[in-house]
Subunit: 258 residues, 2 copies
């Protein structure tokens, strides 16, 4: 099995390196990852400027890997279009430092990187560790390696990304695995208004996460209760449930001259 | 009606200024928009550095508007949390220079800005003009003003964004309005590998849009056939159709020690 591995915390991050070692036990892994941390900024694709990609050696691997001055989506695109000699069977991103739950998925680099993979018809697994202060990525990495083996066995549902979140607990405290829907999670942002040394105003967003209590079936609920969460995700944002209502509003009348 | 107006092409763009004038006929409009073009880069929220926001006067308006050195999502967040004295009834973004169709919606600044609004329970309308070489935003702006009036009358379905795309045609050539689902659209990226003056390699992504032929009901199809497209969008990416299949894969076995 050939795996393309990326992340948005940067190629030297503990999460991706632990995962690389675990995946190397079961697959031929090539890392193509951002040269530095790209989380929370710089998503999307870089089109207005050139992208640098440098061959790097990683500890314990005699393979060629790539450090890219670009976003996670740039990494996947560049890997698939030009850097990899053969297409991979699977794209994996992670282990992300910090959770990627509910609406966070839309903000994260995961979605745009996954779309790049899926345009090419590839399955995608995104793995995140809930607690970024819990620095032991071993369980998360080993779980992911087993998951990839299982997925290869079962086959992938088309156009689906599996978004995996792992609780930040010791392995023996993890209660099980739940297949979940995306929950709701948002940030309460007490915007702070400050003055710079010249007396001019500036603002700083101070975001605290609020996990909205779900019905028990959400990714947020699963991880909070010490379960590994696996959410199948697709990229059709159409709200089919309201299409008929919206049609009944009579938009055609808007085209008439008043 | 109080409207918060933003965009990702920057506050001085023709699209937003034409829309501001049209909306001012029907509502009390405050513009809070990026100081320069942010499309295709810099989405998400700015948390790692301060954000500047400056009061600006706009031609023909005696109101106070804001130019923000930040992303569209920053603009909406800052507006709702601190800049606006009263919450708006509706958030509008646009008129975007260029279409925002199918999977593009996920890449665009629209989604993260809309989430900011929706967290606060506000309806959101995103308007884009298909052809960015067609510089007459008058029809798009007038249509949007009428749409906002209609929406106020009909009420909004909860947690839904209306994504509106307007063909780049003369008003009299537009055939009608279609309520659509999101189609598929992707970029063929011939990655160009070049050498810099020092002989080092760099890459440049050259993206050409490919509109995938839909079943006739998609936003891509509507705009291509000269219809205004209105797509109701929600933010639950869960792929419910495959949840039972995924559950049957037996993830629990992955937790066992080998």
């Amino acid at each position: 099995m050939k795996i393309l591995l990326t992340n948005d915390d940067g190629i030297q991050a503990e999460g991706i390196q632990t995962l690389r070692r675990a995946l190397s036990e079961i697959a031929d892994v090539t890392v193509v990852a951002p040269s530095y941390e790209r989380s929370a900024t710089g998503h999307g694709i870089t089109v207005h400027k050139p992208i640098r990609a440098e061959r790097v050696k990683l500890k314990g691997s005699d393979k060629e890997h790539w450090s890219v001055v670009g976003t996670p989506a740039d990494c996947v695109k560049l890997a698939l279009e030009t850097l990899l000699k053969e297409p991979p069977d699977l794209v994996v991103s992670g282990v992300n430092h910090g959770a990627n739950l509910g609406t966070d998925v839309l903000y994260s680099g995961t979605v745009s990187a996954a779309i790049e993979g899926m345009i090419n018809g590839l399955p995608y697994v995104a793995v995140s560790l809930y607690d970024d202060s819990f620095v032991d990525f071993t369980f998360a990495a080993q779980f992911t390696a087993k998951l990839c083996t299982l997925l290869r066995l079962k086959g992938f549902p088309p156009s689906t990304l599996l978004n995996v979140n792992i609780p930040g607990s010791q392995a023996h405290d993890i209660k099980g695995v739940r297949v979940t829907k995306l929950g709701s999670r948002h940030y309460i942002n007490t915007v702070e208004c400050r003055k710079d040394p010249r007396g001019r105003e500036y603002f700083w967003l101070a975001g605290d996460v609020v996990n909205v209590e779900g019905d028990g079936d959400t990714d947020v609920d699963a991880v909070r209760n010490n379960y590994v969460s696996v959410s199948p995700i697709h990229f059709d944002l159409t709200n089919y449930q309201v299409i008929d209502t919206v049609k009944s509003w009579g938009f055609e009348s808007l085209l008439k001259e008043n």
